[in-house]
Symmetry: C2
Subunit: 152 residues, 2 copies
């Protein structure tokens, strides 16, 4: 099920998941410019959304519901950007894309959490890839905990 030439397959077991289902893992992105930013990664190595089964799609639909509700409740997010690209895998000759979603909560207000202020200066517009905020491991752990708590 895993491909040992795929970076995502190799990294996936080392993540501390926020949440997981039979087919998907939700894990925080170390860049928290968009507070609560997560990866939602398929456990199996598949490279194209066209290859998802109906049950993988419906599990994903459940994650959309539960993750949005959790981050809305934890931090008051206003809306959510969902993005599936897989571009980087194609920088090598024998591309091994692995399905993962980028989940970016968007905020119409500043949020202070764990002593850090998070803001979304381009709210109402496309996410800004130069807006980066690598947080301390402790802060990342606290974000993980508060989101995870919403699932329990």
């Amino acid at each position: 099920m895993i491909n040992n030439k795929c970076e995502v397959c190799i990294v996936l077991p080392n993540n501390t998941p926020v949440y997981e289902t039979k087919s998907w893992v939700v894990s925080l992105n170390p860049d928290q410019a968009y507070l609560g930013r997560c990866y939602v990664t398929l456990k199996k190595h598949k490279g194209d959304l066209a290859d998802l089964t109906d049950s993988e799609w419906l599990e994903f639909a459940d994650i959309v519901k539960t993750l949005e509700a959790a981050v809305r409740h934890a931090f008051g997010a206003t809306l959510f950007n969902w993005v599936c690209l897989m571009n980087n895998a194609f920088q090598t000759e024998h591309a091994k894309p692995h399905i993962h979603w980028h989940f970016r909560p968007r905020y119409d207000h500043k949020v202070t959490f764990s002593g850090t202020v998070f803001s979304d200066p381009s709210f109402g517009h496309h996410y800004d890839r130069t807006h980066v905020k690598k947080v301390l491991p402790k802060t990342l752990g606290n974000i993980n905990k508060i989101i995870k708590k919403q699932f329990s």
Copy 2:
């Protein structure tokens, strides 16, 4: 089912669809920098992916399969970026987001179609929002036709 304060609801009936299902409409974006770029828009006015029913998700899954296959066959696209944002709706005070996906085919090669050369200079990287190509209505019509043909 439609909201007369929602721009998407108002514009939707005027589009010439490439393809449609019970719940979704696929229509070309006038910007064809990424050849075959489409909107995939929910017919009902709903503002959050969390509100989609299971059957709307599974119809969307079918569109992913058929649209990717059609554009791969028509133009030889290499991979596909799928993006659901809804940011612009939040530029007004009483936001009325309407679920729609941005579908951007990506190409590791140039494609000449209908007398126009299409290239993807940032292939292997995030799509470039400054890479814009408004094509002539005739060219747009030809793109529509060739994609539509794959569905028949």
